[in-house]
């Protein structure tokens, strides 16, 4: 038992192994594997219909997988006796009885998990829902308020793992910042967060690690920095032509982007070349929106056919 941890195995809190789900005629999730680590926020990124929600439902036993398995903290979710106390789940903030008050929604979960009523007030305070808001029926809630209620519901059992499907959907920028703070703090205390989103900038703001999914398969995973590395370096110099020539001598290819160029090389190499040639750099950084390009590129095939055609035409 001890040797396993001694040998330096990475602590995987969520482990998805070869998970597949087919529906009549199409494969929603196709043999995917990925992990989420404790102390980190993992962003599960993909366009609508890529299989994010199906994957998350399979994690918590709401959808039966056709193949593969998910381990959360080493257990199948169905084997956890009181799962709400260990894994906080928010799959759809709008999936609440419209006629219940926010407070009652939380009270039902607290009662099911065997938690005292005082826990409801603690959570309401945590997600900044006031007493009068908590007393309103959910049908009168904005989407942002529903998300806060859903987050409160997920955090109710003081779980070690959070699984959140599109939690930032419907939040205003201040709300997203609030959620980032909340989830970062939760991860800093050792918690594991897996959250999905179809918006790159949203996930970039919150996540430490990224798992990109498109058409049911994992297309990329790593930290944003790691994924950005592949997207190259953007640079601009006073003597741009001279720099391009010097880079070409080094075998570094650069393509024009906006006012400058983008090269498939680390910024330190470009900086070194510029220094050697006495070239004045104006800008040198990871390619702007590189992740976005990557995201669009990797998920392009999941878009409509006509969209792919258009981008192909634009590039030609």
């Amino acid at each position: 038992m001890c040797s396993a941890s001694d040998s330096g195995t990475v602590e995987r809190m969520i482990q998805v192994e070869n998970l597949s789900k087919k529906y009549a005629g199409f494969t929603a999730v196709d043999d995917i594997s990925f992990t989420a680590l404790p102390g980190r926020v993992t962003g599960f990124l993909g366009p609508n219909g890529a299989g994010k929600s199906t994957t998350m439902r399979m994690m918590v036993g709401l959808t039966r997988p056709d193949a593969g398995r998910v381990l959360i903290g080493g257990h199948d979710y169905l084997d956890i006796p009181n799962p709400g106390r260990h894994v906080g789940v928010l799959l759809d903030a709008s999936a609440q009885h419209a006629g219940r008050t926010g407070r009652e929604v939380l009270a039902l979960s607290a009662a099911t998990m065997g938690l005292p009523k005082s826990r409801v007030d603690e959570l309401l305070a945590l997600v900044s829902l006031t007493d009068s808001e908590a007393g309103r029926r959910v049908k009168n809630y904005s989407l942002g308020m529903r998300q806060r209620l859903g987050i409160a519901n997920a955090l109710m059992g003081d779980p070690q793992v959070l699984i959140l499907d599109e939690p930032a959907n419907g939040l205003d920028p201040a709300g997203i910042r609030w959620m980032r703070g909340l989830l970062k703090g939760y991860a800093d205390r050792g918690g594991t967060v897996l959250l999905s989103s179809h918006l790159l900038h949203e996930v970039q703001m919150i996540a430490d690690d990224l798992v990109m999914i498109g058409r049911g398969t994992i297309v990329a995973q790593g930290t944003p920095a790691e994924l950005m590395q592949n997207s190259g370096t953007y640079f601009r110099a006073v003597e741009q032509e001279k720099l391009l020539a010097a880079l070409a001598d080094e075998g570094i290819v650069a393509n024009p982007v906006a006012d400058g160029h983008r090269a498939e090389a680390e910024s330190v190499r470009i900086g070194a070349v510029a220094a050697k040639q006495g070239i004045t750099l104006i800008e040198l950084r990871g390619a702007d929106g590189g992740l976005e390009d990557l995201f669009l590129e990797l998920t392009a095939e999941t878009q409509r056919e006509s969209y792919t055609d258009q981008t192909a035409g634009a590039q030609a």
Binding site: S5, V60, G61, N82, L91, T112
Partner: protein, 259 residues
């Protein structure tokens, strides 16, 4: 706390985790019926209509009514509304999509269904007790010559059984159809159609009684008791209209994707 530190990285210690008890789940299900405006009004209307029907009969009836007459008046509105309550108990998880939360907290879905079933039984028995109290209050006022005629334990149990059969029938259709509107319409339409067929097809009437739960369960209200054959007819028709849909619904809920 010491167990906490012994846990390996990437592992969650579930040794201290205990399943919510069935009693707790039943409590939650009862609460779910009363914590929405629609649910609360259904409960209130069952109580109010029961009182109202009895009072109207007391005022407008020419006879001096005995205890059992009042009990039978209560059975009419309750027989219609309790199945609706049982249906909503199940279908609200799908109609309002609260199943996403309910079944994430209790992933073994059969336990949720069982809790809902027990909650439905509790509501039915509670409604019957309300009816008994009302009848007990009104009987002395009505002043019949023999107010407690035929009031026996077995007969009272048969009335409870009739109410339970009706309510559980609703529950069965709710589980099988998982949709409030379909289940309620089916609950009222199917017995009507079956009864009409039984009524029209007189040559087959004897045989059709084996399939007609409405007619066979109505026999439970006969104070003179019912025969073994009638019991058997209640049994077979319950098997078709209650047990079969519950089995189908149970399997459906186990397999279904909760979205």
């Amino acid at each position: 706390m010491s167990t906490q530190t012994a846990v390996q990285p990437g592992m969650i210690d579930i040794s201290g985790s205990t399943r919510p008890s069935l009693a707790k789940l039943v409590q939650v299900e009862i609460r779910k019926m009363a914590d929405t405006r629609a649910g609360l009004w259904l409960l209130i209307s069952i109580a109010v209509i029961t009182v109202l029907v009895n009072t109207l009969f007391l005022i407008f009836s020419n006879d001096d009514l005995p205890f059992l007459a009042f009990l039978q008046f209560s059975a009419m509105p309750q027989g219609m509304l309790l199945p609706v309550l049982a249906i909503l108990l199940v279908t609200q998880e799908w109609g309002q999509r609260t199943g996403l939360v309910t079944f994430a907290l209790v992933p073994h879905r059969g336990r949720v269904l069982l809790a809902k079933f027990v909650a439905a039984l509790i509501f039915i028995v509670a409604a019957f007790l309300v009816a008994v109290v009302i009848a007990a209050v009104l009987t002395p006022i009505a002043g019949a010559d023999d107010p407690w005629e035929d009031v026996t334990g077995p007969y009272m149990l048969r009335i409870v059984l009739a109410l339970v059969l009706g309510g559980v029938w609703g529950f069965a259709f709710g589980v099988a159809l998982l949709n409030s509107a379909f289940a309620i319409v089916a609950y009222f339409a199917v017995p009507t159609v079956v009864s009409i067929i039984t009524g029209i097809w007189t040559s087959m009437q004897d045989k059709l009684l084996w399939f007609d739960l409405t007619t066979s369960s109505a026999m439970l209200f006969d104070p003179d008791g019912i025969s073994g054959k009638e019991w058997a007819q209640i049994g077979t028709s319950s098997l078709i209209w209650i047990v079969l849909p519950i089995v189908i619904g149970w399997m459906r809920v186990q397999k279904a994707e909760i979205k």
